[in-house]
Every structure is written in C-alpha cells, then in structure tokens.
C-alpha cells in the first residue's frame, strides 16, 4: 500500500485514484471533477467514500456549497513548477471553508511541502521515487512566516506586537 504524509505523519493510503474511463472499484475512490459531474448517479450509489481530484484548470468555485460531501480533495501537480494548485487550495480552504483532507499529489518535492502546507494542504502524496521521510523534514524548514495564508489568518504584524525603530 502506498505511503503518504498526513498531518505530519507517514501513513498508509487507502484511496484509489480512478482513471478517466476505468470502472469504479470498491472502497474509497478518487475521481476527477469531470467524472464526478458526469456520473453523479453512479457515484451516489457507490459503497465507499468518494473524493475529488482537481487539476490546474479546474475552478474550485464550482464546488461552492457542495464541499461537505467530500472527505478528500486531491490537487494534482503535473509539474512542480505549475503553481496553480496553491491558489486552488487557498480558495477551497480560505474562501469556501473546506474542512476535509486536502492532498497534494503529483510532482511535489520536499522543498515545496512547506509552501503547500501554508496554502492549506494537510496531506502529501510524494512521488514514489522520492524519500518520504526526507520530504517530511521539509515541513519544518521554517519557523517564522510573514504572510497571512491558510495556516495563519493574520500577517506577522498582527501575530506579533512588533515595534519600530
């Protein structure tokens, strides 16, 4: 069973990602937004849990009001340099109030994990050819941050009473 990082721990992953035309297997499944929109009826009858897997061009605002249905939303990073998923995560968390598991998948490396976490991801499926323990260490690269994001809703000057010169 593949291992992922979830809430700072390495755990085994039970979810199965379903491709574009594969039949739905049993258990917890992860489907694309496209399939979820097209095959709602079948999915509602599915015995296991259903999670969504978003890609860069998906508009998370289409899910407004529907997010309670998902125990898991994954955002796919086809290349680490494609940073759209960071904004998708912040819209899901900060604007739409999504509370379930938010998982980054795809080409994510140790050095992105800290940023991903700050944008609201709490689970990371690191590429299989990477050292997952090493990646976990990336979450602790920095202890101070300036901006407000999904982890801190206030920027540094609100979090700390800072004084002038």
């Amino acid at each position: 069973m593949p291992r992922i990082i979830k809430k700072d721990q390495i755990v085994e992953d039970t979810w199965v990602q379903v491709g574009a035309s594969e039949p739905f297997p049993e258990g917890d499944i992860l489907v694309s937004l496209e399939r979820w929109q097209a095959e709602q009826e079948t999915l509602q009858a599915h015995a296991g849990r259903v999670g969504l897997c978003l890609i860069g061009k998906d508009n998370p605002r289409e899910l407004k009001g529907l997010l309670d249905q998902f125990a898991l939303i994954a955002v796919e990073f086809p290349k680490f340099a494609d940073g759209r998923g960071y904004s998708i995560a912040r819209i899901l968390r900060d604007e739409l109030g999504y509370k379930g598991e938010l998982r980054a998948t795809g080409d994510i490396l140790r050095d992105q994990l800290f940023y991903l976490m700050r944008c609201g991801f709490d689970a990371f499926a690191v590429r299989e050819d990477r050292d997952i323990e090493d990646a976990l260490a990336g979450l602790r690269d920095f202890s101070v941050v300036y901006q407000a994001a999904s982890d801190y809703t206030s920027p540094i000057y609100r979090r700390f009473g800072r004084t002038g010169a």
Partner: protein
C-alpha cells in the same frame, strides 16, 4: 533603513541552514543537478558560461555602509575582487564556488541581507526610486511600502511557482525614476482630489521579447489595501497566466489577451473575497515601517556654505563633476552625488572590493552611512552637504569613482552578454567598452547632452534596449555577431518603445554607426533639443540615411 528584528533574522538564518543542507546533498550526490537546479535558482544561483553566478538582493536599492563593506568583503574573499550592480539594483558575483555559497549567504545574513528570490518564477526583489527619501518631487517616501511588499513577497506560499518571474517597482515621486511602467506591477504614490495619499497601480508592463508599456489598473488605491490588491492581481495571474509557453507567460501577455478592462474586472472580483479582511494593512504597521526611515539630522545652516563655488572656479575637473554628477536635494544645502560605475576600461556596473570599502567609509563620514543603487547601474550618496562636496570629490577621484559622465552617452546600460551569459547571441561588454573609449572626450559628451544608450546581447533584453534613446541588440547572423539599432525609447514619464532603424550591422561597424547617429543628431538638432526630442520630431529618416549611406 529597515532593521531586522529577531523574527526577520530567524527567517534569513533558517534559509541559510536550508540551503547549506541542499548544497551538501548536491555535493554528496544525493541530489542530481536537475533536482538541485530549482533549489539553487530560489537562491539566486545561476549557472553561467564559465561558472556559477550569485545574485544578491539589495531591497529597493538601499545599502548601509556596513552592508556595502560586507559586499566588498565577499568580493575579496569569495570572488575575483569585484561585484557587478544590475539594472534591478541588485549585485552579482560572477565567480563563486558552489561549496562557498552557503558561507556567502551566512555572511550576508549577518548584515541582514540575502539572495532570496533573486531568480526563479516568483516575486523578485522590489525596486524603487533611487532618490527615495531625498527627491524634491516626492509625495511620500516609498521605502516603508517597499519593505511592506518585501516582507509580503518573501517566501509567499501561494506565489512561489508563478508562470514566470514577477517584478514590482515603487515610486513616491512625480517624476518616474523607477521605470514603473515597465514592471509587472508598478506602484506610484499619488494624491487624490481630497489630498489623501494612495497608490496608482500599473500592471502588465515589461521589456524582454515582447516589450509592453504597462496600463493603469487602478488610478487610486487607498493605503490599507496595497497588499490585498497585489494579492488579487497575483492570484488571477497565477491561475490564468500561460504556463505552456515561457515566452507568453509574463503577466503582460495575459493582460493583453484579456484586455485591461476584463483583467481589471477579474482582479476586482477576486479582491472582493478578501479586501476588508486581515490583509488590510493597519496604520500602526505603516507607522512602524515609517519609523525606520526618519529624515536624517540635516544641518539647518548647510546652505550657507558656498565654498564649492571657489573650488569650482579654480578646478575644472571638480567643476565638471559638480555640474554633471551632483543634483538637487529636497533640503537646501544638501546634494545628491551620483557615482558612475561606467568607468572607462571596466564593464558597466562593475565595482571592486577596494572601491566598496572606500565608499562605505565615505558614506559613514559624509552621508549618514547610506548608499543607494540605481537601476541605471550606478550608485548614489544621497545626503552630501555643500561644505563636503569638494572633500568628497577629492576622495572619489583617486578611486576612479568621480568619472563625470552621469546621464551622458557613456553612462550606458549593458547586460553581461557573451562574456558571461549562456543565452547571449553577441557580446555587449566589449561594445560598451569600445564606446566608452571612443567617446572619452567629456566636452563632446556634454555637448551631446542627455543620452541613454542601452544594450542587450540577445532578445531577452536584460540591457533594456527597447527603452534606450539609442538601443542596441546583439544578434547572431550565421555565426557572426551582428547588431540591430533602435531609436526613440524611454523608460521615464514619457515612456516609449524604440523603433528599429534598419538592417543589422556587423560588429566591426557598430561603433562607426553610433558615431554617424550622433553626427546626424548634431546636424539636425534645434536649440536645446535632446537626442530623443530630435528623433521624435524628425523620425528615423535622417538617422537612417546617415547610418546606412556610408555602409556601401
């Protein structure tokens, strides 16, 4: 200037630790070069033709004497005794060894400096008016807002993997010395009809392969909204900027494709989601940042001293320097002294370790310990008293830092070109040097008047050739170095893009072509007319005729 507190310091220290670990993993082979590349690029470490190049951030161009001394020390200890100031007010080292870079970053951190986000597809160093704080035409000192943006953009979790690099410039003056129309975002402090100070926000400007003059997205933005508005622009760009073709990935292309109206609509819709929230900058934070940039202790009687006049009457060299490199300051009796780094015989923007040490001392002695870097690759001592002008000149002269060519033809901007850059098609530094040598007669230069010559070694336009009064672009023509000339560009308030003059010119003829351009100008100019104005009045024909007529 801004001083780090323990939190700011912790951030740069942790960054050094992180990079030390990454370099270690690279050196022991745990990271391949492919894997290491994005990590080093986040720290301004590029691979050039012969060696690594490290680009160090100089936030909004402002340096303390202590920092400049440290930059000199790094040049001496880790490089070949010099550094290179860039068009984005940063400094580059051309010869560091990879294993030394973590130590260099630690040296920088010890004086509150870093190389964070000086490369990569993220928000780059914030640039500003080099006369910030002393310009007579200033509405408000922009530096506190630059610092606000610096902190906001440092390790921004959402915007560190943008479609492409992102540059922001800020000015607080009515005259634009920061080229705000040629940045991804340009911020201009303005007063509205009620007399309140806020920001005019410009978006989508830039040079590179597709030069574009930015457009105003919001004519007046209230002060507390600076960060939320920038965030809205960034988010729209991050989600919808082109990621398939890197030459179409800058925000200017997105703005152009959507049109400014539609782009504005999308930004303001995004902005609605968080404009009134935690991102509003409280007045106390602005006041806190402002407290780091107090007006120095100016002497009230500085204007009484006119001793420089007598010196100028006796000393022609000093008089020239005074006339050309010294400009007005907002406080009577004080002067802005520009230091040209376009010294004949050295590449534009280069400065030695010894010059840095000496300048740091001069800043301490005469200019409240501060120096600023300009986007024209020069340095500025901002606060020189009338009484000290002659002494400062006497000190600069033997350092070769009193060359009085500011604003003239040989105060040229030039990218590294073939000498260092692996993308170059042609040399630029040797051409700049030959121009500096050929036109070393100061009286001739002064007669030519204000002239901006800008040169790039390939179409990426790091030398900003599109906005030179004379722009020169190096190209490769069947393995030979050729140069295209463009005329009529400007990066100032009268922003314009230059126009191509005609066919490319061979390397050994480019100097002659520049000579003939200047001759054409001298023949056709009217009383008091600058090169740019003559060109704008007459168009390219007379210049074209002169340059190409003798080519046959």
């Amino acid at each position: 200037m801004y001083q780090y507190n323990e939190l700011d310091q912790q951030i740069v220290d942790e960054r050094v630790r992180q990079f030390r670990d990454q370099v270690q993993r690279r050196l022991t082979g745990k990271l391949s070069e492919d894997e290491f590349r994005p990590l080093r690029l986040m720290n301004g470490l590029y691979m050039q033709r012969h060696a690594y190049m490290l680009r160090v951030a100089v936030p909004y161009g402002l340096l303390s004497s202590q920092q400049l001394r440290k930059l000199g020390y790094i040049a001496e200890r880790y490089d070949r005794g010099f550094g290179h100031f860039t068009t984005r007010q940063n400094i580059q080292y051309n010869w560091p060894e990879l294993e030394d870079v973590p130590d260099i970053l630690a040296e920088l951190a010890s004086v509150e400096m870093h190389a964070i986000q000086t490369s990569g597809n993220c928000i780059r160093n914030i640039t500003a008016d080099p006369l910030a704080g002393v310009a007579a035409d200033e509405i408000e000192d922009p530096r506190p807002y630059c610092e606000l943006l610096r902190q906001y953009s440092t390790f921004h979790p959402e915007f560190s993997y943008l479609p492409r690099k992102f540059k922001i410039a800020v000015t607080g003056a009515t005259q634009d010395r920061a080229a705000v129309a040629f940045h991804d975002i340009g911020v201009r402090m303005v007063k509205n009809e009620e007399g309140e100070v806020g920001y005019q926000v410009i978006v989508g400007g830039g040079l590179g392969r597709t030069p574009v003059i930015g457009e105003v997205i919001r004519p007046f933005l209230e002060k507390p909204h600076l960060l939320s508005y920038v965030e809205a622009i960034m988010r729209v760009y991050n989600l919808y900027g082109n990621r398939d073709n890197k030459y179409k990935a800058r925000i200017k292309i997105l703005v152009r494709e959507l049109g400014i109206e539609e782009f504005r609509r999308q930004v303001e819709e995004e902005w609605e989601h968080f404009r009134e929230g935690a991102m509003m900058v409280p007045e106390e934070e602005i006041a806190r940042l402002q407290s780091f940039f107090p007006s120095p202790d100016y002497a009230s009687d500085a204007a009484d001293d006119r001793s420089f006049e007598a010196h100028a009457a006796e000393n022609k060299k000093f008089a020239r320097w005074l006339k050309n490199n010294v400009s007005a300051h907002k406080v009577p009796g004080y002067n802005v002294v520009s230091i040209s780094l376009k010294i004949p015989g050295t590449p534009p923007g280069d400065i030695t370790d010894q010059q840095m040490y000496a300048l740091a001392d001069l800043a301490d002695q005469y200019s409240f310990g501060m120096i600023s870097a300009t986007h024209e690759q020069n340095l500025v001592l901002q606060d020189i008293k009338n009484a000290d002008l002659f002494a400062v000149w006497q000190a600069l002269e033997p350092l070769k830092l009193a060359w009085p060519n500011i604003g003239t033809l040989t105060d040229q901007i030039c990218c590294p070109g073939l000498d260092y850059c692996s993308l170059a098609n042609a040399s630029s530094i040797p051409i700049a040097e030959s121009i500096a040598q050929r036109f070393d007669d100061l009286d001739y230069l002064y007669d030519l008047g204000e002239l901006k010559l800008k040169m790039s070694g390939c179409i990426n336009a790091c030398g900003h050739h599109h906005v030179g009064h004379i722009g020169i672009l190096g190209i490769d023509k069947r393995g030979q170095e050729f140069y295209q000339i463009m005329l009529g560009g400007s990066a100032m308030d009268d922003a314009s893009l230059g126009q191509w003059l005609g066919p490319a010119i061979a390397r050994d003829e480019i100097l002659g072509a520049v000579e003939r351009l200047l001759e054409a100008y001298l023949v056709h100019r009217e009383e008091g007319e600058r090169f740019l104005e003559t060109y704008r009045r007459l168009g390219p024909e007379p210049f074209k005729e002169k340059v190409y007529a003798q080519n046959h």
